[in-house]
């Protein structure tokens, strides 16, 4: 039976209080740090999903988002590299639709069923922008979810699916637009969300001869904190007991990743035998019947939704958030050292920079990063094996915190870290508080954006305080 064999999620460390956006607005939304985007979040969710799993067995990576930094250039390849997946796999971006996450899921299920792949990873992420102060800005949150689809050791089988499409201008963002646009809410919800998801869910239940009471949990995409209740009631579900709460108070609507992230939240509470209904929305709806198996217990150690939501840091400064998103003109400051971008150099160092692979000397065993030609310890030439560092924890050996050099967020912490099991690296630290940075602090690695120049992005790994 085909289905979900593992899941993982990523919610950024930072939360912005809605009160900071509009007086009286309630709750908080998860926001990307200045060095995060949909690609880095998808990579983090993929790595969470791959915890303890043989990466060599993954045959595909589908990246789903409406906010890829590139209009022309694949994002999936960057996510696949950061997840240290094989090179001979299928990669594709599913874009331009809030439904991209479940579109990718359907394609992954079909690839497995057709036998063209054994395991396919779906990694969905979004960081959408609403006009400053708008309801959209208040409702949108940033995050990512990843599902590993396969036909062995399946934790959640996909019993069936049903899709409808619907041509409507309710929510859109044109090429060149920064902010999401919409028609008035009454029209959008009546003939968009409520009507369309309603059709998909009823069609699904009809197709598989199921009724609302057959489901332990119903996971519905919701445009805001309330609309899903109306939909659930119309469809005959008990919104108090049966429906997955959509996390608006603590995270917000994460776009293409939202249905998958809500599903993961539901799976964290699920037990073997539970039947779950999942439905997405975006110019149509994909609805699924899912069945939880005994295998679910084996993947519950993921950081997933619950632990990521519990690990957080508030940023009080709305202005800072706007600057990070490029929405507020800034005073011109003394330029830092000139950063240039070299595509050949970035390509040459891809194994180190994207996969965070160092090398291990086959003669003396010394682990070294970045990869060397001659061993720093025993001086043997060209006898190394690759060694993955992205999944290792580390400790700070020494550090600095720069309060002066222009940067999106001061102070800029830099760290020299020693990995558990060997290997040393120098890298920026992110997401931390100045007070907590000290020699000996345990850290882990996070894939981040380093340079954004001429529309091209350079990514690399930074240390972050271990998220617990």
């Amino acid at each position: 039976m085909v289905g979900i064999t593992s899941y993982g999620a990523y919610v950024p460390m930072l939360r912005l209080s809605r009160e900071a956006i509009a007086k009286g607005a309630r709750g908080e939304k998860a926001i990307c740090n200045f060095d995060e985007d949909s690609i880095t979040m998808a990579a983090a969710a993929a790595n969470d999903c791959l915890n303890g799993i043989d990466r060599g067995m993954v045959d595909g990576l589908y990246f789903a988002t409406t906010t890829s930094p590139y209009k022309e250039k694949l994002g999936a390849t960057i996510v696949a590299m950061a997840a240290d997946l094989r090179q001979d796999i299928i990669t594709a971006d599913f874009a331009n639709s809030l439904r991209a996450g479940t579109s990718a899921l359907i394609s992954a299920l079909d690839a497995i069923k057709a036998g063209s792949a054994k395991k396919v990873m779906v990694a969905a992420a979004d960081c959408r922008l609403g006009t400053p102060g708008s309801t959209f800005e208040q409702n949108f949150g940033d995050g990512a979810g990843a599902l590993l689809i396969g036909d062995k050791d399946v934790a959640v089988t996909v019993e069936g699916s049903y899709s409808v499409y619907s041509e409507i201008l309710d929510i859109w963002r044109a090429d060149g637009d920064t902010f999401v646009r919409s028609w008035e809410d009454r029209f959008a919800s009546t003939h968009g969300y409520l009507e369309t998801v309603g059709k998909a869910v009823s069609g699904l239940m009809q197709k598989y001869k199921l009724s609302p009471s057959d489901f332990a949990k119903v996971v519905l995409y919701s445009p805001d904190a309330r609309r899903y209740v109306e939909l659930a009631r119309r469809l005959g579900f008990d919104d108090k007991t049966q429906v997955q709460e959509p996390l608006f108070a603590v995270m917000g609507n994460t776009g293409a990743a939202f249905p998958l992230m809500l599903l993961i939240a539901a799976l964290e509470e699920a037990k073997a035998g539970d039947r779950i209904l999942l439905a997405s929305y975006g110019n149509g709806s994909d609805a699924f019947v899912l069945q939880v198996t005994e295998q679910i217990e084996k993947i519950k150690d993921r950081r997933g939704m619950k632990k990521h939501l519990a690990s957080k840091k508030a940023i009080a400064d709305y202005k800072k958030y706007l600057i990070w998103r490029g929405l507020l003109p800034q005073e011109e400051r003394e330029p830092g050292p000139i950063r240039f971008l070299s595509a050949p150099a970035a390509w040459r160092e891809r194994e180190a920079n994207f996969r965070l692979r160092g090398v291990k000397c086959q003669v003396c065993g010394t682990i070294q990063f970045p990869p060397q030609r001659v061993c720093t310890k025993c001086h043997t030439k060209d006898q190394f094996e690759p060694y993955r560092l992205s999944d290792k924890k580390a400790k700070i050996v020494s550090f600095a915190m720069d309060y002066v050099t222009p940067a999106p967020d001061l102070p800029t912490a830099t760290t020299t870290i020693d990995f558990d099991g060997g290997g040393r690296m120098q890298c920026y630290m992110t997401d931390g508080e100045p007070e907590q940075v000290k020699c000996g602090l345990p850290v882990e690695m996070s894939f981040r954006k380093i340079i954004d120049k001429d529309g091209a992005r350079i990514y690399f790994w930074k240390s972050i305080p271990v998220r617990t």
Partner: protein
Amino acid sequence: MKGIKDRVAIVGMGCTNFGELWDKDYKDLMVDACYEAFEDAGVEPKDIQAAWYGSRESGFTGSHLANALKLEYIPITRVENFCAGGTDTFRNACYSVAAGIFDIALACGVEKTKDHMGGFTMDITEPFDRSMVEWELPPVSQFAQLANGYFNKYGLSYEQGKKILAKIAVKNHHNGTLSPKAHFRREITLEQAINAPMISYPLGLFDACGMSDGGAAAIITTPEIAKSMRKDYILVKALALDNGGGQGKLQSDYDFSYIPETVEAGKLAYKEAGIKNPRQEVDLAIVHDCFTITELIICEDLGFSPRGKAPEDVEAGTFELTGDLPVNTDGGLKCFGHPLSASGLRMIYEVYKQLQGKAEARQLKKADIGLVHNVGGVCGYFNCAVAILGKP
């Protein structure tokens, strides 16, 4: 290995004022530094048979020096070795004379930093990482790692550590007031140093040296020729240079409480000069105090203080003008200023003047053996130059 001891002599030196010299081009600095050296040595530009020119970002070939001084078709090599560039320039000129290839050679180091905002034009990490993913911050964040590493290793609280570093800044500011050519010439208090704005934790404004414009030059010849030129020529006792291979960045046994490159260069230099006990035998040391923590650590790396004990010597005033082993008598990089590749030659200039008894208000009573030290690069990946000079 014959070594360099007593095989070459300095017969003339020049040094420009250091500072924000908005009205001087790097060629003006070459002319000012070299003509002072020519006059001091009693030579003409036409007497120079070969030259070495040190610069990190102020002229990429020796031809700039030839053009400024109108040297007529002589060999000039440009030297770049980060902050050790000045001393390395001197070293190369000395070796050519010791080899018997030339009788009179010129070493000149110049840096015009203030034409660029912030003082650095080039990517700092670029030489190490072309793919530009390594962190890229000014040197202070490299050296702040040494401070955090040192404080951590010896259990110093931020307050304890800052106070020691502040004492070094106060000392070098005092010495700067006695150096007419220094960039910064005013006293500061301990409180000012401790409470100055944070630059890179734990280093504040007064822990950092000045970025300055400046140039310095030396005329090098054989001891035999030197004798015929002047009585108070100065002999070279040792020249050491070592380049780290990034061991500290790659290997986990480096703890950022010392600079192994300085330790190794010091050993080489002491061996060449025949120095057994540097604390006793060295009369003054002009060392690379790009940041106060660097001076503290260098004093241990060069054997002036036992490991972990330099703070006690700082407290005791050992490195002050009146102490047992005065360090940075001219104000150091801290106050004399730091025009990268000129600094090594400026340091040699100070030792030269002290050994000749011409250091005016900061003249030491006993100055027979002087040491010069530069360190450049990034944490865990330094290069280091040490020169030892003595009286005939």
